[in-house]
């Protein structure tokens, strides 16, 4: 019954890494959309909105991703939805991303100099136009390096959804370990695949940071 840890097993791991990436992309898309709302709410003119966004960030950042996963997973089934675990996985990772990205993007929006707001206001731009044409384009440059850095965190945290039997990279590692009984080799290969995904992103984040620091004025 014990199978050797060979090329087929490694191919299965690489294939499962595809699901890790799918989860990351989904969480980035949904969580990113939500994060934009959170970031804008965080700098809104109405105080209650700002406080609400701050509370959202505080709660999500004070809770393990694992709890977000369980709350999504059991909360959905409690509400009567019989959904596949991958849905709960996507929801929890999106919630997680919304808070951390929201905070990163808030910082980026706030780091645009005040004068840019005043100048655009004096050109009679509406608040929406100010964001669209003046503030957000500048924020994107500032936000890009830490956003790529956060993507690394997101990829790594997808490993946690293995506990609700979503067969991404880590779960695939467990499954293969169960038939090969070579835990050190299997999980070392799993780690190397994560490294192959994350290391280039870490480098990219650092390079972007360096490049933007040179070009930024003041």
């Amino acid at each position: 019954m014990i199978r050797p840890f060979g090329i087929d097993e490694i191919l299965f791991l690489i294939q499962s890494a595809g699901w890790t990436l799918v989860l990351t992309v989904v969480a980035m898309a949904l969580g990113g959309a939500l994060a934009l709302v959170v970031a804008l709410a965080r700098v809104a003119r109405i105080r209650a909105v700002r406080e609400l966004a701050r509370a959202w960030i505080g709660v999500i950042q004070g809770v393990p991703v694992l709890m977000l996963l369980f709350l999504s997973y059991y909360g959905l089934s409690y509400a009567g939805f019989e959904l596949p675990p991958i849905v709960a996985a996507s929801i929890s990772l999106s919630l997680y991303a919304s808070a951390y990205l929201g905070e990163i993007w808030r910082g980026a929006i706030e780091s645009v100099p005040r004068q840019q707001w005043e100048a655009s206001a004096s050109l009679a731009l509406s608040r929406a136009q100010q964001y669209r044409y003046v503030i957000l384009p500048q924020s994107v440059r500032i936000a890009l390096p830490p956003t790529v850095g956060f993507l690394v965190q997101l990829v790594k945290n997808t490993s946690i959804v293995s506990i609700v039997s979503v067969v991404e990279l880590t779960r695939a590692g467990q499954l293969i370990n169960n038939v090969t009984f070579q835990p050190f080799k299997v999980f070392a290969v799993v780690a190397l695949i994560y490294l192959a995904i994350c290391y280039p992103m870490s480098r990219a984040s650092r390079n972007l940071e360096g490049r933007f620091r040179v070009h930024r004025v003041g």
Partner: protein, 239 residues
């Protein structure tokens, strides 16, 4: 099957949660102390070694920072026994948390050390301080004070990451939750309660770490360290 939320059966098992909470605190504090020691030592090596000599530190930091904590935990708990190194789940969890935090705090301490201006070090040396004295009195405290907010965030992140130790059946807070869940079948109630407990724990850590910064790093006047990024005393004002 929309039934009512029932917390009573969960509260009946509260002792398991409190024990789990205590283990989470112990694991976190242990990892914070040990991991910070590793991080500080590695950051010293990194900033003092000659160029090209500190690559083992870089490899350590990059390996840990670019792989999931869960996989690190699996390698330590399932993988190391294959090489003849065995330990209980609790110690495996503590070791994984320590190694993980060590890598992240290396980068944080390094940023702090690099933020101390050269002229401060030269001034110290010109006062006939030894290199060790300069490090202790001129570099260390301002460096740690300056990165204390980042360190605090990282400490809270490792506390939250400890929940993953339940995957190797460590009965810390989320491990205790899993146990109650299988006893009572009130999954949602258990995890709602435990989520609130983690939130409370995160706030408590934040408060305690702010007080520690306040007491030992002279992070002055800022109300418990919230809201201000840089201390004004005890730190040099590098241009």
């Amino acid at each position: 099957m929309a039934t009512q939320l029932q917390f009573a059966p969960v509260f009946a098992e509260a002792p398991i949660l409190l024990e789990g909470l205590w283990l989470t605190v112990k694991l976190s504090v242990g990892a914070i102390v040990l991991g910070s020691a590793i991080g500080l030592a590695a950051a010293m090596v990194r900033s003092m070694a000659r160029p090209g000599r500190a690559w083992p530190v870089d490899v350590y930091v990059e390996l840990i920072r670019n792989t999931p904590f869960l996989v690190q935990l699996y390698i330590i708990f399932f993988g190391l026994p294959a090489l003849g190194i065995r330990m209980t789940a609790e110690y495996a969890g503590l070791l994984a948390m320590t190694i993980n935090l060590g890598a992240y705090s290396t980068e944080i301490f390094r940023a702090g050390i690099e933020s101390v201006h050269r002229s401060q070090i030269e001034a110290g040396l010109s006062l006939a301080m030894t290199r060790a004295q300069v490090f202790r009195h001129v570099i260390l405290r301002p460096a740690v004070a300056r990165v204390w907010p980042s360190l605090t965030s990282q400490y809270i992140l490792i506390m939250l990451a400890s929940s993953v130790c339940s995957f190797i059946s460590v009965e810390e807070l989320s491990g205790g939750a899993a146990l109650i869940q299988s006893n009572t079948f009130r999954a949602l109630e258990v995890y709602m309660l435990v989520t609130v407990m983690y939130l409370g724990l995160a706030l408590a850590f934040k408060l305690v770490l702010a007080l520690v910064g306040h007491a030992f790093l002279r992070l002055d006047r800022a109300p418990l360290g919230f809201g201000r990024r840089f201390p004004s005393s005890g730190a040099s004002t590098a241009p």
